[in-house]
Amino acid sequence: MQLLQVLTDVFQPPRWHGLRTADRCQPAALALTSLSCGDAALRTMITNSPMSDEAKLRALLRESRPAPDLPPGFQDAVWRRIERTEAPAGARPAADWLDHLAAWFLRPGRAFATAAVMLVLGLSLGIAQGASRGKDLAKARYLNSVSPLALRQ
């Protein structure tokens, strides 16, 4: 694994910028040696090279290939996957169902659609009930005006 990592690092062109000639030669030599001789030879070469140079090289290599930012909620997703793997088989479908439902509502379009449906539902019920109540009040007003209260008690 270490060998592969070094080889990959070596053959990436951008990482050479800003290196001194001596620094640039070292990894190439390492790579060639490792190709022909294997891990033991590579370990020897690395051990022989000055520590400060190696550290510098590694720092430069790390800088030259910055790690991309993780997407939002990456850690949560990882933990969810771990939990799902560890959860008992019976509990999984319910959890999956809830996750899917929650994910469905989290989409902005669907959230707005749900809010709109609730708004229309509330307005419709309110209009229907308000119309009925208003009509009842108007009817009661007419009846009170024409029929004495004593007769309806």
Binding site: D76, E83, A94, A95, L98, D99, L101, A102, A103, F105, L106, A111, T114, A115, M118, L119, L121, G122, L123, S124, L125, G126, I127, Q129, G130, A131, R133, G134, K135, L137, A138, K139, R141, Y142, L143, S145, V146, S147, P148, L149, A150, L151, R152
Partner: protein, 164 residues
Amino acid sequence: MRRSLLILLAVILAGAAIAGISYLLARRICVSQLAPSGDDLAWLRDEFHLSDTEMQRIRQLHEGYLPKCRENCARIAAKRQELLTALDKAQGMTSEAQQKLAEVAALRAQCQANMLAHFYEVSRAMSAEQGRRYLAEMQRLTLGFHEQIENTMSPDAAAHHGHH
């Protein structure tokens, strides 16, 4: 799973809040628009689809009827007071109390007769179909309550009551 539950709970609460607030607002607006704003006859116009001419005629009848109605109410109230005084004084059923009771009943019957006469007049000011509907509705609303009481006291109802 816990996060999903929280999301769903938030969705349910938000949905209920949106629906509840919109329901209350719509209801209040509708009631304020449809409820009577000062016109006793607003319900008649809407319910029986009256034209302006019909409304004008019915308004005249209504305004002519109201003083009679108030007068009847005042007479009934005064007679009821007399009846209560007679009952208090005698501490039981006397011939005077019985007479007052009969007078109250007669005044009520007179009031009902006047009211029914007014309903007939109003119904004639409408189209035949709406007039029939109006008359049936008014009879049901103004006389229905007494019918209900009488039905519960009829021999059939009493026999049924005895079986319990």
